[in-house]
Subunit: 192 residues, 2 copies
């Protein structure tokens, strides 16, 4: 991770979109650079407050590829097609997101509840069901979710569009939130 | 598990509340008994459709004890009290629910999202965040959740009351839903 004493507008312009950089202790970001960093979804880690290991847990801020799957409730099935169980659908998305083949994943089932439970069983996944734009935003900002689940019977198409757009474009930036992701990982490692 | 060829109103009256019983192949339940079984939260498993092992995964229908915990957003803290991180709070509730010290668990944090993620990391927990009565009911009926999470900033007190009451009093009864819980357990066993 690149380290800065001061981040200027010029620095912010040339950093790769979605990158993470470290600001040195007592470092400084110019006001104009703040806006550019936000617009380019660059995460600034404050030295001594968040470790590089913790930052690696945050989801990719600049989402380019999304793994999407649905059970039989979210799609119009051709005649004779077999229904699919939500845990199978959720785990197929999880298996694309965890090795970072996809930057993020979206799972659709009847209510979105079961898929969120199942996806969270997979180490490295943080999944949330969102029924509103607020929940979608919080789930990224505060919890760094890398899988979103939607309920086909709970969310209308227009709402789903807003939820998905918000979720895909909200980065996780706050060091104090990022640090808590390590505690979730500790629970994964603890096992049963 | 007790097995019946026919379940009458008299049988239904004497079965322990919240019990599970098996109905033999081509067995029969009288209409009056149906109502009593529902009222007494008795789960009827159809022979050959759901195994006793699968039924053991369903949450207790008659909830008597609830483990409750909250992070600093859900309670008024005395001066000088330390804030608590949601993964710690969620895991303390999970640790009471999994060994069945409590029949069910409730976790409160700012949005309820993080606690649901963290609680689901614990084997044997199925947690959902509920922002409405419908989600609370679905999460029990369809997904057999044993942990409910609530967002202190997203749900008003009156709504929370309805959500909690619905969640605590909705049993999981459908064999086809219960069977999917075994698939969630498979994901837990798979590990990372």
């Amino acid at each position: 991770m690149k380290k800065f004493e001061i981040i200027t507008e010029t620095d912010a312009r040339v950093l790769p979109r979605g990158d993470s950089v470290m600001l040195a202790r007592r470092g400084h970001i110019t006001p104009l650079a703040q806006d550019t960093l936000r617009e380019r979804r660059i995460t600034v880690v404050h030295e001594g407050m968040t470790s590089a290991d913790e930052v690696s847990l945050a989801p990719k801020a600049d989402v380019r590829t999304v793994a999407i799957a649905s059970d039989h409730t979210g799609v119009v099935l051709p005649e004779g097609a077999e229904p699919v169980a939500y845990p199978d659908v959720a785990s197929s998305v999880a298996d694309a997101v965890v090795p970072r083949e996809a930057d993020a994943g979206i799972v659709i089932d009847g209510a979105g509840i079961g898929s969120a439970i199942a996806a969270n069983k997979v180490d490295g996944v943080r999944a949330a069901m969102a029924t509103s734009e607020t929940i979608a935003r919080y789930s990224r900002e505060h919890n760094g979710t890398n899988v979103l689940t939607l309920g086909a019977t709970l969310v209308r198409q227009e709402e789903a569009r807003v939820i998905v757009t918000t979720w895909l474009t909200t980065p996780m930036r706050e060091p104090r939130y990022i640090r808590r992701l390590a505690k979730i990982r500790d629970l994964e490692r603890r096992g049963s």
